[in-house]
């Protein structure tokens, strides 16, 4: 080879120099569990569906969401969105409006008539579901998608259970409820209304069912003993809310006293207000201790609902009641003070919680009932093999999202049980905490506030109180998501590597490290906005 003077080697590329050998730690891509997903009682992959919504692909977002929860339009209205209370963005400005985006997706799906993807091939198994409420219909949806034949029995005249007979229209319009229920039916689920199951074993035997899921809810209002006159009107809250769905509305009179401090008490009081009454809530403890959500108390008070905190009803007369003032002792329990007050009252509505009608479970071998609810194991199965239960009738907090989650969990376990296996949930990833994020990279963006119905119409009509987002602000809101713990392909690692040791695999395929050259400096970890990279020691 002819080379210039003093040159003995051909020029070469530095690629021959594998600087990866310098490394004592290596970067590793991880998927951490976003706190919202970790919190969701229905097990939604919130960060996952927001990812699709961020690019404006709402149908894909909806499909992703409904893998876990078939009722986004309902959830977007009545879910108490505990996801937002753990959102990492709250530590920057305010939480992402997950609930409002969910509602937008649900409403889009109804407007554009999106359908669920078709069920898997028929398995030949037949599952009985008792109760067409959130838990039963959620289970029906998932079981049908697994390919099982599903028949739902419900004692009532409509689908929806407590979503219809417990939640007032101003929070959940009935056309929305009907649309999301019907979509499950359209998947091939058979629903038998006005069909009360009196004996579960008999029904299973006669219908040749292979398994059953019980989700009858808790519809019997609890009573409290109140000394009352002959003509005083005392009714329970569940009956009031249920009769709102009938032709004949309940007769409550002008002065309505609602006894209790939970969400049902608030719902009844706000319903009474809309019917022209003047409701007063009487609750034995104070606002901080009330089980009702604070925003609902706030909205009720805005609408003109009066609340007597720290009061119990001692006696109910014909047109008035006597209440006793209470005070909280050191342990937070209310103690009587001996001070009394008289209030005008045409009726007293008891909102003191609900019991489960367990009549259908008499004489089921192995089944255990404790404190009025059915005991289930970690697979949602009762003590009787093949009979599963969920929703308000098992020991858990009672709300619609939890019920929907029970339906999904039960469906997975029923599916496994029918196939002679057992369902093993995939291991949970480590939660993506705020400290794992690099928040410098997120653009400043305050939360979008949903419109609220004006106060006059809230006091007199059953129109929906909270409005929805439109396409523009739903997109904005979705893009406020930090994508905690999950790569959203911002290219930061690909850009910030001084050694060009990150390989970009193209849209949707994320990245990988070129460990031949990675020196292990850790800049990619420090500069990853969402905490999706971690350092692991090398074995040297």
């Amino acid at each position: 080879m002819d080379k210039p003077f003093a040159i003995t080697l051909d020029p070469g590329s530095s690629l021959a120099n594998h600087t990866g050998s310098w490394r004592t730690e290596r970067p590793v891509y991880v998927d951490r569990l976003p706190p919202c997903n970790n919190q969701c009682p229905a097990g939604e992959d919130i960060q996952g569906w927001l990812f699709h919504a961020e690019s404006g692909n709402y149908e894909k977002a909806w499909q992703h969401l409904t893998k876990d929860n078939p009722f986004p339009a309902i959830m977007g209205r009545v879910c108490y969105h505990s996801c937002e209370s753990v959102c990492n963005r709250a530590k920057i400005d305010s939480a992402v409006g997950i609930n409002s985006v969910e509602r937008f997706l649900g409403d889009e799906a109804i407007k554009r008539q999106w359908k669920f993807s078709q069920a898997a091939t028929d398995t030949g198994k037949h599952v009985l579901i008792v109760g067409a409420g959130p838990s039963g219909m959620s289970a029906a949806y998932h079981l049908r998608r697994f390919g099982h034949r599903v028949t739902v029995y419900d004692a009532g005249p409509f689908m929806g259970g407590m979503m219809r007979f417990g939640i007032p229209k101003y929070r959940l319009p009935r056309d929305i409820l009907d649309a999301e229920m019907q979509r499950v039916v359209d998947l091939g689920v058979e629903v038998k209304l006005n069909s009360k199951v009196d004996n579960i074993l008999e029904t299973m035997k006669s219908g040749k069912f292979d398994a059953a899921f019980l989700a009858v809810g808790a519809h019997i209002g609890k009573r409290a003993f109140i000394p009352a006159g002959a003509v005083s009107k005392i009714i329970d809250a569940v009956s009031v809310l249920r009769s709102m769905e009938n032709e004949e509305k309940p007769m409550l009179g002008r002065r309505v006293v609602v006894y209790g401090g939970g969400n049902t008490a608030i719902d009844v009081a706000r319903t009474a207000k809309r019917m022209g009454a003047e409701p007063i809530i009487v609750y034995r403890r104070n606002r901080e201790k009330a089980p009702a959500h604070d925003f609902e108390i706030e909205e009720a008070m805005q609408e003109g609902v009066m609340i007597k905190w720290l009061s119990t009803i001692k006696e109910a007369g014909d047109a008035n009641i006597t209440i006793e003032k209470m005070e909280l002792d050191d342990t937070g329990f209310p103690q009587p003070t001996g001070e009394f007050e008289t209030l005008e009252a045409d009726s007293v509505v008891l909102a003191l919680g609900q019991d489960v009608d367990l009549g259908l479970l008499d004489d089921v071998p192995g089944l255990v009932v404790t404190d009025g609810v059915v005991t289930v194991d970690s697979n949602m199965m009762t003590g009787h093999a093949g009979i599963f239960a969920g929703g308000d009738m098992v020991p858990a907090d009672r709300n619609i999202t939890i019920a929907v989650g029970h339906g999904k969990k039960a469906a997975r376990n029923i599916d496994a049980w029918l196939l002679g296996t057992s369902y093993v949930a995939p291991p949970k990833h480590e939660v993506a905490n705020f400290e794992s994020l690099n928040t410098w990279y997120y653009a400043d963006a305050p939360k979008t506030v949903r419109p609220t119905l004006d106060i006059i119409r809230r006091q007199s009509t059953f129109e929906e109180v909270q409005g929805g987002l439109d396409e523009n602000n739903a997109l904005f809101e979705a893009r406020r998501c930090l994508s905690c713990g999950n790569c959203f392909e911002c290219d930061n690692c690909y850009g910030v590597c001084p050694d060009n040791a990150v390989i970009k695999l193209g849209p949707g395929n994320r990245f990988k490290f070129n460990l031949d050259y990675c020196k292990g400096c850790g800049i990619c970890v420090a500069e990853c906005p969402c905490g999706a990279i971690t350092m692991e020691p090398e074995n040297i």
Binding site: W440, C490, D491, A501, G522
Partner: protein, 337 residues
């Protein structure tokens, strides 16, 4: 505004890429087809800010010139770690001559290309000269000043890490006050570089009234790329100084390279701005103002300020310098350019 920030798209233009942006709105570094002017296998330390800054800048210049580019390199870290005989990490035409003559070599190449081009030979190839702060502010200053004064058609890029890091962290005229180096009273009651010495090259370049002067940091890629591309839209002498942290010389963690550049900018210690023909035309505003301590503390070269009895007075003087930058370059004035 120096760079029109993209309206809210999750991360806006803060991150290197953003899948929600149209491809033409994304950075050069986000591109799978980027030049990678400075390829893998170079021998820079872990977390080297200069290696990062050089790839950012030269890739952007390659994009701006559609690949018609020659780079002239001063002696220094960048030259030593990228091109130990017989290997090179450079994937572009690249030349190294001496420590102090970089601007002169670049001037000569630009002149040769101009002549060839005028004769109808070869394309309109552009010239970039690059070096560290030592080769720029000290040893190469005469040649550089001449290049400015003659308004030769060269973009000179200085990667500023405040010292001679390659030869063992000696002081340069760009070493900040109070920073400890191997040659600035490393021991004694008051170690560190004295106040009132050194030079701020961007201001000197502005004094030459050349077409374009800018500063940038490795913490703001989009701003850096914008400035390199803008510089390539001018003919004549141009100067860009890029703040590049040196984990070895500064005694900082290798993962903190970008963080330190960000803190330098956010504290006002390193003003980020651009100027045309000697006039300040715009500055990058501070987004989350921090006291200088936040920038100084992660660096061991300033550790003597934070001992048992913190050097309150010295820190206050450094803060005063940052505050003067904030005033002089309008770093907080949202109304000003």
């Amino acid at each position: 505004m120096p760079l029109q920030p993209v309206k809210f798209y999750q991360t806006g233009t803060f991150t290197v890429g953003n899948r929600l942006l149209a491809p033409e709105e994304r950075s050069v570094q986000a591109n799978m087809e980027r030049t990678n002017s400075l390829n893998s296998g170079h021998r820079a330390c872990q977390g080297c800010g200069e290696a990062l800054g050089a790839r950012y800048a030269i890739d952007a210049a390659m994009t701006a010139t559609k690949g018609q580019l020659v780079a002239v390199n001063a002696t220094g870290c960048l030259e030593v770690f990228s091109t130990p005989y017989p290997e090179t990490s450079w994937q572009i035409p690249w030349i190294h001559s001496l420590f102090g003559n970089t601007a002169a070599v670049a001037t000569g190449i630009a002149a040769a290309i101009k002549v060839k081009h005028a004769k109808g030979q070869g394309k309109d190839v552009r010239v970039v000269a690059q070096g560290g702060d030592g080769g720029t502010t000290d040893i190469g200053f005469g040649c550089l000043s001449g290049m400015f004064e003659r308004n030769d058609d060269v973009l000179y890029i200085c990667y500023d890490n405040g010292g001679y890091m390659n030869t063992g962290v000696q002081r340069s005229s760009a070493t900040p006050p109070a920073a400890r180096t191997a040659t600035t009273m490393p021991l004694g009651p008051e170690p560190g570089n004295p106040f009132g010495q050194g030079k701020f090259m961007p201001a000197l370049a502005m004094a030459h009234e050349i077409p374009y002067v800018a500063t940038a940091t490795v913490a703001d890629l989009r701003d850096l790329e914008y400035k390199v591309k803008k510089a390539m839209s001018f003919r004549g002498a141009r100067y860009i100084q890029i703040h590049v942290p040196c984990p070895l010389g500064w005694g900082a963690a290798s993962k903190d390279t970008i963080l330190l550049s960000r803190l330098a900018k956010e504290s006002g210690t390193f003003p980020v701005f651009e100027a045309e023909y000697g006039e300040l035309t715009s500055s990058s505003k501070i987004r989350r103002l921090v006291p200088v301590e936040e920038y100084l503390k992660p660096q061991k070269r300033f550790a003597h300020l934070f001992g048992k009895t913190p050097a309150v007075e010295t820190i206050a003087r450094l803060q005063a310098l940052a505050d003067r930058n904030i005033r002089r370059y309008k770093l907080l004035d949202k109304e000003a350019n």
